[in-house]
């Protein structure tokens, strides 16, 4: 034992590292993996940004034109115009409506799972949600086309008018033509983002310490009061993060939306009318364009807009969570 200690001391703290220690293979592999990952992301961002700016640099299209509602990208068309507003508005509107439908359902489900559900119910719902996530988006789109779209067009083809006695018609929605519509897209999306919002807000609710719940109940509050006034405020940043993540997922979804939305490149008029989104227009048009022509450059610009949307939501999540740390 003593000898061992001495040998150890002899090599000492300052012993020269062996060749193997100097190379340290595992460390290099891990470092290399991380570095290449970062490299790929940076390259991708740079490439999309470069391509997205070509429309302005090479084709000389002005920002003002980008923000116009007219989309006539075909070089044979008499008045060429690259207005992206219908797509941006379509993405924003479809996503917003999907969030509006999905958030109450998802947050309610998360609350049920974390606060009310007995163990066995949780054991059923959680795997069910995981399966939900795993369903490919084409399946959702297909279900939308075969069930939702015909249902909408058959059920609501009359217009809807909301009239008030003095104000007159305050709200007017034309009926569905085909069923392919803003509403159909939002409904399909709202189902698809339920698992995202539910699981992230569930985690946020579970992260509220049990002691706070008992503390609140011990003050003579009901379970609902505890949920409403303690749990929801405490988990609010987590729930907001969940909604932003759901929003990112919804804004980025292409296939399922494209299948049910009707793809009409005009400004969204009513929830019963066909609209289009950035993603669905890219998938529709990319096969018809030639590399380098303005039309394709406009598609790249749309990709850039999508990228900006998703980056800003990542930043938003960071800001929200930093607030939570500060609180």
């Amino acid at each position: 034992m003593a000898q061992l200690t001495n040998t150890y001391r002899a090599t000492g703290l300052r012993a020269a590292p062996s060749l193997r220690q100097r190379i340290d293979l595992p460390r290099r592999v891990v470092f290399g993996a991380a570095a290449s990952m970062i490299f790929i992301v940076v390259l991708l961002l740079a490439f999309i940004t470069w391509q997205g700016l070509q429309l302005f640099i090479k084709d000389g299209v002005s920002i003002g034109q980008i923000l116009s509602p007219t989309w006539q990208p075909d070089s044979t068309s008499p008045n060429l115009s690259f207005g992206l507003l219908p797509f941006i508005a379509g993405t924003v509107y479809v996503t917003a409506l999907a969030l509006l439908i999905s958030t109450p359902v998802s947050v309610g489900l998360a609350l049920f799972l974390s606060e009310v559900a007995p163990g066995w119910a949780r054991a059923i719902v959680q795997p069910a949600l995981e399966i939900f996530v795993g369903i490919p988006s084409v399946v959702w789109g297909w279900l939308g086309i075969t069930i939702l779209v015909p249902f909408l067009s058959h059920t609501f083809h009359g217009g809807m008018v909301l009239s008030l006695p003095i104000a007159g018609d305050v709200f007017r929605v034309p009926g569905f033509l085909t069923g392919f519509s803003w509403l159909a897209g939002s409904l399909v999306l709202s189902i698809m983002i339920v698992p995202t919002i539910t699981s992230v807000s569930y985690d946020a609710f579970r992260a509220v310490p049990q002691e706070l719940r008992t503390g609140s109940l011990a003050l003579g509050t009901t379970r609902w009061q505890t949920i409403r006034h303690l749990l929801i405020p405490s988990a609010l940043t987590g729930v907001l993060t969940a909604i932003v993540l759901g929003m990112t997922r919804a804004a980025g979804e292409a296939l399922a939306v494209q299948m049910v939305i009707g793809n009409s490149p005009s400004m969204p008029a009513a929830i019963t009318q066909p609209v289009t989104t950035l993603t669905s227009q890219i998938t529709l048009d990319m096969g018809n364009t030639v590399f380098g022509e303005p039309w394709q450059d406009a598609l790249w610009t749309m990709s850039l807009v999508l990228l900006v949307i998703s980056i800003s939501s990542v930043v938003l999540v960071r800001v929200i969570n930093k607030r939570r740390m500060g609180a």
Binding site: E211, L212, G215, S216, A218, L219, G220, Q225, S234
Partner: protein, 287 residues
């Protein structure tokens, strides 16, 4: 129910001990009985946690529950405001009377009960909101909304909890979580006081605090005793000796069920305990 000699005997004697206390009223500020338990047993599923406890608590006095870990003190404490309801499988038998009314009945409003019987926990658990909102939380849930009324209540509650001077300058800006451990515990006491309870239960309220904070909490308890009935669970025998009027000693029977060995005026329990078990415990021979 099969009973062992070790626990039936002390229960009988306990009655002898309590009786003169009620009569002379020297230990307590009043001779009115605030809480009375009759043959209370608490089970978690099949496991008996507390066995057949009968005792009374005088109004405006401090009762300390002492005893080794696992003797059921905290479980017993939680039956006063029915916090055991929150534990799946927990079952309370016997009677717990608050002002003569049995609170274990199913038709008793738990919400109302917990407003009258407040609780302070072992680890300070302020809510993640401002100091003001922490204190106003209980009253607001009861429907108190008037700004001035709330301001006043928050101020008196914080003053009573001896926290006002330390926090009055940033009541609304500072989070309850930003306070020190001792301040957090006093905030939790203020939060309970704001619901205007009659009884305050304290489950080892100072065990997570440093000695200085502990002393402040103890001083506070002595002051609160003037207006409230307090039941405290503590591991710290000096603490029980310092603050309480009456001490109840619990221990664990051979079948691991907690039971009451004896209860009496604190001075007597610590100087001339009737039971051998109590003497062993307070002199540090076990536990």
């Amino acid at each position: 129910m099969p009973t062992t000699a070790t626990y039936t005997e002390p229960v009988l004697r306990r009655i002898d001990v309590t009786a003169p206390l009620v009569a002379d009223g020297s230990a307590a500020g009043s001779d009115q009985i605030k809480i009375a338990t009759e043959h209370v047993s608490i089970k978690y599923g099949e496991k008996v946690a507390v066995k057949d406890v009968t005792l009374t608590v005088q109004a405006r006095s401090i009762l300390a529950l002492i005893g080794p870990s696992g003797s059921g003190k905290s479980t017993f404490l939680r039956c006063f405001n029915r916090m055991n309801d929150l534990i799946p499988g927990a079952k309370v038998q016997g009677q717990v009377c608050l002002d003569g009314e049995n609170v274990t009945d199913q038709d008793v409003s738990v919400v109302e009960l917990r407003r009258r019987v407040g609780m302070v926990f072992q680890r300070p658990n302020p809510f993640p909101m401002s100091i003001y909102e922490n204190v106003a939380y209980g009253p607001r849930r009861r429907g108190m909304n008037g700004r001035r009324q709330l301001d006043e209540l928050v101020e008196t509650s914080l003053k009573r909890a001896a926290l006002w001077d330390e926090v009055k300058d940033d009541l609304r800006r500072k989070s309850g979580l930003a306070l020190s451990g001792g301040q957090q515990q006093r905030l939790c006491i203020a939060r309970v006081l704001a619901t205007e309870p009659e009884v305050i239960l304290m489950d080892e309220p100072a065990s997570a605090l440093d000695p200085v904070s502990t002393l402040r909490i103890e001083e506070l308890m002595r002051e609160l005793r003037e207006a409230y009935t307090i039941v405290i669970v503590t591991h710290n025998m000096q603490q029980a000796a310092r603050v309480s009027d009456v001490t109840a000693f619990f221990t664990m029977a051979d079948d691991r069920a907690g039971y009451l060995v004896e209860v009496g005026p604190t001075g007597r329990i610590f100087t001339r305990p009737t039971e051998r078990l109590t003497e062993d415990y307070i002199s540090g021979r076990f536990g």
